[in-house]
Symmetry: C2
Subunit: 428 residues, 2 copies
């Protein structure tokens, strides 16, 4: 079976993945006289930076998921197919998917990242993640269910397991999730569960390194740490975890902590596509690319964003796995493919770092720029503004803005609904 | 195991179900010096009248689901437990639930209605329903998935099955759902799926009786019929369906229609609780109550709303199964329980019919009042206003209002996301 896309005189670029990289390479390609086929297993683009707000009932899933067909509505030469990619056959320029085969002139792999559990001793199904919209909704349900259960638990021990939450990984996702949970503990739990003692809810943020947000300035790290403490989060640095049995986390020093909710934000690995020569696999399972985001082994296969890694003298561990890198690579790659066809020399990728922001809670954020870093209310307002503006679509901007205004004035998180209860296999 | 609720000097009223009836009886009871325990299998109240808008991507689930704990936050003498009711033991005033037993002084059954498939020859799992939030989200996913599949279907026959939608039941839910689908066909499908011919999408609304909205005036029925035709919906009255095999609907006259999407809105039956004497079971599985919503068999057990039926000379088939009846019964019942304790004579239930509204699409609604009925834009604006005002919670009012303004000006339905693909067993 073949995927039916009309053959035209335009070169066909097939893009796999509708994340920040995929969407941006497609947008630019469509201005440059290509036929573009975008493939994703979901019919929507996920605004990953705000997944933690869905998980903590501050935003609805629909506010951060944007239908791909809406982004490219009424655009000519664009085709979307919802499908899983099974394999690429680079020697014959074919992509094999769950709905059939498709030929390409150029292939762009923008499959993004997935959770990396490294060699943590656990059943991965017991850990909660924050990489997708279903992840976020499941986490929201699970946290709320555990509070409902804590109410009826007969043993103190069981209540502790249900009310404690451990987050592993002190990067932006871990910090933002911990902060949002801290606010829930402070503002929501006492109102919703007057029968429970909110102080018995312990939130732990565990980081192996010696500071949070290691990609940011020391000052921002310190301030984020302080902000989290103010919100009642226990921040543990220089502590590693080695094992989880579903109800207890074992630290490297054999200390034990009881929890049924372990949120793993400690690692990312690339999403690989079968058929790519294994010699192209770099650190973290990411696809090794050159400064044009091309795979050395092939002439017409490229990878961008979190799925790729470009190791240079200045970037021995690749570029940071953040949205702006994917966006910039996507735009440049579209131009470079166009240049290839014209026989013009290509432009190498240079990352323009516009600064880094992370938020901990209301009026509490940290911001790092080239020669400037600041923390607190201004950083927080900047964070809000940047996120509103980078959300896809006017309706989502509007609804997120409205929800944030509402959340700000009411100290509330309105979406505390358990639509589909989440069950770990262990708890069935 | 027992559910732990402190015993106080107050009489304990246990209310089962957080629908319109349950919420309103609880609100009033809390003003009247009772201890109230509310039990529901979900942690939220569902605003059922707008489920069809979730199913057609116009509203988010969170906009019409309101957490019970938020409604009653900081209210004394109120207890909520998320649990399934297993059985009532009226002789010992005990309610048995999935989380343990609970004693009551008074029991109010407000369990609502569920889909009634009557003796329609089918596998019920093949039919789509619109009674709960998960129902609505599943239907949204399923419709969108079928369009993605229609794109890649190789046979015309299969495409027809995927693009056709049949709705059985010409009541308010059927009419509103058909209208919303008609608008999708007109405004959304051509933009999202330029590769498909939207005219090949056929929407059928099948009604056994001789007119739609049989509870409304003849004029409103006619107008609703006309509005649906304008939106490209095929309305079939005086036609019954007898069988569905998963891909074909068989009409009473043996005519066959191909569809993988059969939405059943043709019937409602009460949600029964085991342990209630079977002699109390009335038409449609509803619990027979007297004019005080009391069960004849017991002194302290009551039922309100869709779960109950009060058959009188004037209401041989009970009161209509609509929200206002449940609301009014809930409020009166709270007062009557208070009167019982005081030994004062009770007030019988008299339904104040404030009028009926149904909407078909933008600027297309019908309104019936005692001496007045009107149709079109004014009815539509009234419908919008009434629904905004009866939504629970300021945040939901605000977000729904924003979404509706957005939908009105853009002709768009923004939430066309498939978060969790829905699969019928047949399609696995």
């Amino acid at each position: 079976m073949n995927i039916q896309i009309p053959k035209t005189e335009q070169k066909r670029v097939v893009v796999v993945g509708a994340g920040f990289g995929g969407i941006n390479v497609v947008k630019r390609l469509l201005k440059l006289n290509f036929q573009v086929v975008l493939i994703d297993k979901n019919n929507y683009h996920t605004f990953q930076p705000l997944l933690y707000q869905v998980a903590t009932a501050g935003l609805e899933a629909g506010s951060i998921a944007f239908p791909v067909r809406r982004i490219f509505k009424r655009v000519k030469n664009f085709y979307f197919r919802m499908a899983e990619v099974l394999e690429v056959k680079p020697e014959s320029n074919l992509l094999n998917t769950s709905i059939g085969e498709l030929s390409y002139d150029y292939l762009v792999i923008a499959t993004g990242g997935q959770t990396n559990f490294f060699d943590f001793d656990c059943d991965e199904n017991d850990l909660m993640q924050l990489k997708s919209v279903p992840n976020a909704i499941d986490l929201r349900s699970y946290i709320l269910q555990n509070f409902e259960r804590a109410l009826i638990a007969e043993k103190v021990d069981e209540q502790d397991q249900l009310m404690n939450i451990v987050i592993v990984g002190g990067g932006p996702t871990g910090v933002e999730m911990a902060g949002a949970l801290g606010e829930m503990k402070k503002y929501v739990i006492p109102k919703d569960y007057p029968e429970l003692n909110a102080n018995r809810m312990h939130i732990y943020l565990v980081e192996m390194g010696n500071r949070l947000l290691s990609n940011m300035s020391e000052k921002s790290s310190k301030k984020a740490h302080q902000f989290l403490n103010e919100l009642g989060v226990n921040v543990l640095t220089n502590i590693s975890v080695k094992k989880y049995d579903g109800v207890q986390v074992f630290y490297g020093d054999n200390h034990i902590l009881k929890t049924k909710t372990l949120i793993w934000t400690a690692g990312l690995k690339g999403v690989w596509i079968n058929g790519i020569d294994e010699s192209m696999k770099g650190p973290g399972g990411r696809i090794v690319v050159d400064e044009y985001n091309k795979l050395a082994k092939y002439d017409n296969v490229f990878a961008i964003g979190d799925a790729s890694i470009n190791i240079t003298k200045n970037t021995p561990r690749g570029f940071p796995q953040v949205a702006p890198v994917a966006v910039q690579q996507g735009k440049l790659l579209a131009d470079n493919i166009s240049r290839m066809i014209k026989g013009v020399s290509l432009k190498p990728f240079i990352y323009t770092d516009k600064g880094t922001l992370a938020t901990v809670g209301r009026n509490r954020a940290v911001a790092d720029f080239k020669n400037l870093n600041f923390q607190g209310t201004i950083a927080w307002m900047l964070w809000l503004t940047v996120h509103i503006f980078t959300l896809v679509g006017f309706r989502n901007k509007l609804i997120v803005f409205t929800d944030w205004i509402y959340n700000y004035f009411t100290y509330d998180r309105a979406l505390r609904v358990i639509i589909r209860p989440y069950k770990r296999k262990k708890d069935l």
